[in-house]
């Protein structure tokens, strides 16, 4: 069995884990991150994509609200390519308690969140999809945030400082001796091989799996697993994030996100952290509530539904769902359970991942005797792409193709543009719905951590648009068949990829998406003689 040695092992390739890896790397602490799937395999790709201003939490949890607005401002600065400055709205409907609005305004002011009342008539004129019954509306600094980009940004930045990442490696055991963690055992999820890593410290950033990981070290950490379902509309319904001005509930936020709009969410406690199957009934429920704010909702096309599991932490309580705090907890197991060399970070939100990482690494660094300060709030995640390079990109990929690729790729955009300039065939758009070029797809296939079409999808957005992979998946496989990881059985790769796409389409199969599925079934089952949707 292969054995490795490193100072710190981070478990979990979500926002929290990758944020921690970057923070460790910037402080010069050697670390390796292990993730059982691809990066963003967990909740960090199955969320709403809202970079909270904190306004949603202002009334109930001032501390959380304050953290949100601070982190919101930091992320805008360090990761402009991951944040869409949409701005957000809170709208009140006639059936909402008007007194809540007054409490909310005061609470926002106390938390330091800018909120400005705007003219309702003007608002409706600019956003005709909104209900004409809106009684009051406020502007807040909410934004849309791209989870994938943040995660890859964290990892690329960390790698520049020497950190390592092992995807498709599951931690199967945590070794300890004399009250100290000594290492972890890993199983390669692609070939079943085992390997072990010796280390001084383990950081448990396994999100909803936090309880399971802690249990490997014989510890009890109570993570409440709260499933939330979301739906994605085919186009941008509005230009700003829209929240409902009432105590937080289901189906009360719309987030415009690049080409799509995400409406959510629901809240159900589940046992299995991997339970990400969206339910048909949850979808219908969401639409019903969403209609109060956007009356014509039923006529707009849904492309898929998806679900994520919130890792909520309550030290010892039976409460669940929305009554549980969205704050995070940092558990020092040396102090709490007498096991040195292990910490768990649980709960929290995507928005506050950087702060969670900072607090975690502060603790870890102090235990390791390192006193380098945190730099993640100051140092940009990626170097911005120059105007000149962007212009060159537009010539080969067109306006949206170049802009989106530049935002996704950051520093590597130059390579992709050069490829396309040298060979115009590489500049061709392979995923037409999301405008992804062959050059970018090959770049992703080349990266060393793309083993499946799904991995390429998460890096590029290919297959995430209107047709949900019907046309780009076989096209891309054809182009990538020279790569060792795609040289095997294409039918199997396609089936795996498409079944995952169809998992999201199945709960929204009506109207145009049903026609889309029929077309897709026709192509794959008839032309390619493959199996039906499972």
């Amino acid at each position: 069995m292969e054995t490795d040695k490193v100072q710190v092992v981070v478990i979990g390739g979500g926002a929290t884990g990758t944020g921690i890896l970057r923070d460790l790397a910037l402080r010069g602490i050697p670390a390796v991150l292990v993730e059982q799937g691809d990066l963003a395999h967990g909740t960090s790709s199955r969320f709403h994509g809202l970079l909270h201003s904190g306004a949603r939490y202002a009334v109930k949890d001032k501390e959380a609200a304050r953290e949100c607005i601070e982190e919101n401002m930091i992320l805008r600065r360090i990761a402009p390519n991951c944040v869409e400055l949409t701005g957000g709205l809170f709208v009140q409907l006639p059936e909402d308690d008007p007194q809540y609005a007054d409490r909310w305004i005061t609470a926002c002011a106390e938390a330091g969140i800018n909120c400005e009342e705007i003219d309702v008539q003007e608002l409706i004129k600019k956003n005709p999809v909104l209900s004409p019954n809106v009684t009051r509306a406020f502007k807040v600094p909410d934004c849309a945030v791209d989870g994938f980009r943040i995660l890859w940004g964290n990892v690329n930045s960390a790698r520049r400082y020497g950190a390592r990442v092992l995807t498709y490696h599951r931690v199967s055991a945590i070794h300890q001796s004399n009250g100290r963690v000594t290492g972890v055992e890993l199983i390669n999820q692609l070939n079943g091989q085992k390997r072990s890593v010796e280390c001084e410290m383990v950081i448990n950033a396994a999100g909803p799996w936090g309880g399971e990981v802690a249990a490997m070290a014989g510890l009890e950490v109570n993570v409440i697993k709260d499933k939330g379902t979301l739906v994605a509309y085919n186009h941008r319904l509005m230009s700003m994030v829209v929240n409902r001005l009432r105590p937080p509930g289901d189906g009360d936020i719309f987030v415009p996100h690049g080409t799509i709009t995400i409406l959510g969410t629901t809240s159900t406690t589940v046992d299995n952290p991997g339970c990400t199957k969206p339910g048909h009934n949850e979808v219908l429920e969401l639409i019903k509530i969403g209609q109060e704010m956007v009356p014509e909702l039923e006529s707009y096309r849904l492309i898929r539904a998806f679900a994520g599991v919130r890792p909520l932490y309550q030290e010892n309580s039976a409460a669940g769902g929305r009554s549980v705090t969205r704050n995070f907890a940092l558990l020092d197991h040396r102090q709490r359970d007498g096991l040195a060399g292990m910490v768990s970070i649980v709960g929290g939100k995507f928005t506050t991942f950087r702060l969670m990482a900072e607090k975690t690494v502060d603790l870890v660094a102090s235990q390791l005797g390192v006193n380098a300060p945190c730099r993640t709030a100051r140092e940009p995640l990626t170097a911005p792409v120059s105007e000149e390079l962007l212009e060159r990109g537009k010539k080969v990929f067109g306006v949206p193709g170049a802009k989106k690729a530049a935002e996704r790729l950051g520093d590597s955009f130059a390579q992709v543009v050069e490829q396309a300039e040298k060979n115009p065939d590489k500049g061709r758009i392979f995923c037409e719905c999301e405008v992804v070029s062959l050059a970018e797809i090959e770049h992703a296939a080349h990266s060393g951590d793309s083993f499946t079409l799904g991995d390429i999808r998460r890096k590029t957005r290919m297959g995430m648009g209107t047709c949900q992979g019907t046309f780009c998946s076989y096209r891309i496989l054809g182009a990538l068949s020279g790569y060792p990881q795609f040289a095997g059985n294409h039918r199997e790769y396609l089936t795996k990829f498409l079944q995952k796409r169809w998992k999201g389409m199945r709960p929204v199969l009506w109207g145009q998406q049903l026609r889309e599925a029929q077309l897709s079934t026709g192509i794959y089952c008839t032309l390619f003689a493959m199996e039906r949707m499972r």
């Binding site: 005709p128 999809v129 085919n234 186009h235 941008r236 319904l237 230009s239 415009p256 690049g258 080409t259 014509e296 006529s299 707009y300 096309r301 537009k394 010539k395 067109g398 306006v399 949206p400 802009k403 758009i429 037409e432 719905c433 405008v435 648009g465 209107t466 047709c467 019907t470 046309f471 145009q512 026609r515 889309e516 077309l519």
Partner: protein
């Protein structure tokens, strides 16, 4: 954005049928195609209006994509708007601004039409225009008539049938082919119907096709107001140019959200109008024998109007006349498109099908409703090309309608 438009956007299932039927995409890979330029990028334009593919200028606006789309997506309207956005961001070349104003060119040529015609045939001058302006030296220029249709037309004194007809001639008939307008008057006179004419603005299609939407919108409003006045006074409006017709009826609504409902009942292609008369038993079907074999080319914009080929039924009434359908798709000229240096070759490649069909059928005369199609078919094949009305007028009486 109107909710209609959002729904149209959502209707696209990415089947690519529009791409496989697009005449431009068929002959060149410089054009990203109707789907990518239309519904694909439209999703991006909701976030970033500048998300227009630079190849948008290669769309001929033939509307073939609209016709074939099984999902009812207004693809070409999306493309037109995108081109407008592109032009408002990057500006239009002087050449396009000139070509788009066919009305102004027509008025300017009034000063000395024969001189203009001669100059347009001078090779050195054309080469200069190609170099300086990007106007293809190879393409045949439309000839300007000595007198405009509005100058030539003299309403005849005809017994009153109670039918009031206003004719919207369009720029091409007025400046280049007044004989078509005169043929219309002749045919209607044969039925004792008097035609009124009036000076209108250009329908705006050349402006739309060149992305100059603001000017086009202004003209659209003026035209609609004038037409509405006639409709209020009980007039039927007839057209002879399928492109003007489609623009007035469909583009004004799809691109400018103007209300064109009144036009739907009251504005007809002249052959539709004659078909209505035929159905009512009021068409004078006394025609002279015309022993001719002609090829028929259906203009794309007539196809897009969804009214079939209204001239077919009427022409069948002419004894001796045999009309063979070329069935060859787009001719490739697309108004001002084929005159542009960088597009000339594409335009000719698209038109190859028409050339082949004419050769195969062995016809020496072709008829087609669109002046620009006529020009291209003549340019491609050298055969004489007429408006079907000229054939009909010939069958109505003595005049000489088919001599060019």
């Amino acid at each position: 954005m109107s909710s209609d438009h959002r729904l149209a956007l959502d209707n696209c299932i990415k089947c690519s049928i529009c791409v496989s039927h697009c005449p431009v995409a068929r002959v060149t890979d410089k054009f990203a195609g109707p789907k990518q330029n239309g519904p694909d990028l439209e999703r991006f334009r909701l976030e970033e209006p500048a998300a227009v593919h630079p190849s948008i200028g290669y769309c001929t606006n033939c509307k073939g994509c609209d016709v074939v789309c099984p999902s009812g997506v207004a693809v070409s309207a999306m493309n037109c708007r995108a081109r407008g956005e592109y032009v408002s961001l990057h500006g239009a070349p002087l050449r396009d601004k000139i070509l788009a104003r066919v009305d102004r060119m027509g008025r300017a040529a009034r000063l000395a039409p024969s001189l203009v015609n001669r100059l347009a045939g001078l090779r050195p001058l054309r080469l200069l225009a190609e170099k300086m302006l990007g106007i293809s030296a190879a393409m045949t220029m439309p000839r300007y008539a000595k007198k405009t249709f509005l100058e030539l037309y003299k309403p005849k004194n005809i017994g009153d049938t109670g039918r009031k007809v206003l004719y919207y001639p369009g720029c091409y008939v007025n400046y280049n082919a007044p004989e078509v307008g005169l043929a219309l008057a002749e045919v209607l006179a044969h039925n004792n119907i008097r035609v009124e004419v009036e000076q209108f603005d250009c329908c705006g299609l050349p402006l739309i096709a060149n992305g100059l939407l603001d000017t086009a919108r202004d003209q659209a409003k003026k035209n609609l107001a004038k037409l509405q006045g006639y409709i209020n006074r009980g007039y039927d409006i007839v057209t002879t140019c399928p492109s003007c017709h489609l623009t007035l009826r469909q583009e004004y609504r799809e691109l400018f959200q103007l209300n064109t409902d009144p036009l739907h009942e009251k504005m007809l292609d002249v052959f539709e109008y004659l078909s209505v008369l035929l159905q009512q038993g009021k068409l004078v079907t006394r025609f002279e024998e015309l022993p001719l074999q002609v090829g028929y080319h259906q203009p794309c914009h007539l196809k897009a109007a969804g009214c079939g080929v209204p001239s077919r039924e009427i022409l069948q009434l002419i004894p001796g006349l045999r009309v063979a359908d070329l069935d060859a798709g787009c001719c490739g000229l697309a108004g001002t498109y084929g005159f542009k240096k960088e597009k000339y070759a594409i335009s000719q490649a698209i038109g190859r099908n028409v050339f082949n069909a004419v050769k195969e059928l062995g016809v020496r005369q072709v008829i087609s409703e669109c002046g620009m199609c006529q020009l291209q078919i003549h340019h491609l094949t050298g055969v004489a090309v007429y408006h079907p009305l000229q054939v009909l007028a010939q069958a109505c009486g003595p005049g000489k309608w088919l001599a060019k």
